[in-house]
């Protein structure tokens, strides 16, 4: 009986279950990066350069700004894109430098929890902002 085996000693590999996740995350970094160029640099320019930065910021300033749906949408987009872009970047950094599987796992848990927390809290604040809230 002649049994032809190509590589008889090679370990049997599990059925290919490749996903394109890394490709999509790579693409997402570029696309969100372009959007963030406008959103973040615009935000920094307006907040830090036009009129003297943090010195004019107070509750009234925020109220005036979020009275406009345009700025609400701007800030919401910036929040989501920056969190996912930054979270994906940190995920890559963790994958590169964490040596033990357990370290990698828990760092990523911490990362994902912080991303969900910040996105949820930020979105909640933008959507439920009340300029007439009493202190």
């Amino acid at each position: 009986m002649s049994l032809t085996l190509d590589k008889p000693r090679s370990p049997r590999r599990p059925a290919a279950r490749r996903s394109n996740l890394e490709l999509y995350s790579w693409l997402f970094m570029r696309i969100s990066g372009v959007a963030l160029l406008v959103l973040v640099l615009g935000h920094l320019f307006i907040m830090n350069i036009l009129d003297g930065g943090v010195h004019r910021i107070n509750f009234g300033f925020v109220a005036g700004r979020w009275a406009s749906p345009f700025w609400q949408f701007w800030d919401l987009s910036m929040l989501w894109l920056a969190q996912i872009h930054g979270g994906n970047g940190l995920r890559t950094v963790i994958n590169d430098y964490a040596r033990k599987d357990a370290t990698r796992f828990w760092l990523k848990v911490l990362l994902y929890v912080s991303m969900v927390l910040i996105i949820a809290l930020g979105s909640y604040v933008i959507f439920t902002f009340d300029p007439d809230i009493t202190s």
Partner: protein, 140 residues
């Protein structure tokens, strides 16, 4: 060393590909990571402080008040510098990825973005610091 081509040690890399390793391109990548991670941590704090508008105007104003000092002002300049580098180098990374001549010009493109960075940060720092500096030393 800056300005020299990465030296290739025989047999140390597959296909002799040393486009980045040990060269300026590698350091631009290191800086890209550091500025990205710093910005992520800043963002965490920034969303939390802004969320105080949902607590009370007073709570928000009190925290913002603590930011109105020269040290925080310096941090702001640093943050803007970090984000600006990350943004400019991000453009460069996309050109390396998507432009057919990108890899060839990755090094001159680094000098270009550093020049833009300096050209923006000089007036930027001035406008960000002018209030603090006049408050500190302006007297009247």
């Amino acid at each position: 060393m800056a300005g020299t081509t990465a030296t290739e040690r025989a047999g140390t890399s597959r296909g002799g590909g040393t486009l980045y390793r040990g060269d300026l391109g590698m350091w631009s990548w290191v800086a890209h990571r550091i500025t990205g991670v710093l910005t992520f941590f800043f963002l965490f704090a920034h969303v939390l402080d802004t969320a105080l508008v949902r607590v009370s105007p007073d709570a928000y104003d009190k925290v913002i008040e603590t930011y109105k000092n020269p040290v925080v002002n310096l941090f702001e300049v640093g943050l803007v510098g970090a984000v600006l580098y990350h943004a400019l180098n991000g453009i460069r990374v996309m050109l390396v990825d998507f432009w057919s001549k990108g890899p060839k010009y990755q090094r001159p493109m680094l000098w270009v973005i550093l020049a833009i960075w300096v050209a923006v940060m000089i007036p930027g720092t001035y406008f960000m610091m002018v209030r603090t500096v006049t408050d500190l030393f302006g007297g009247s």
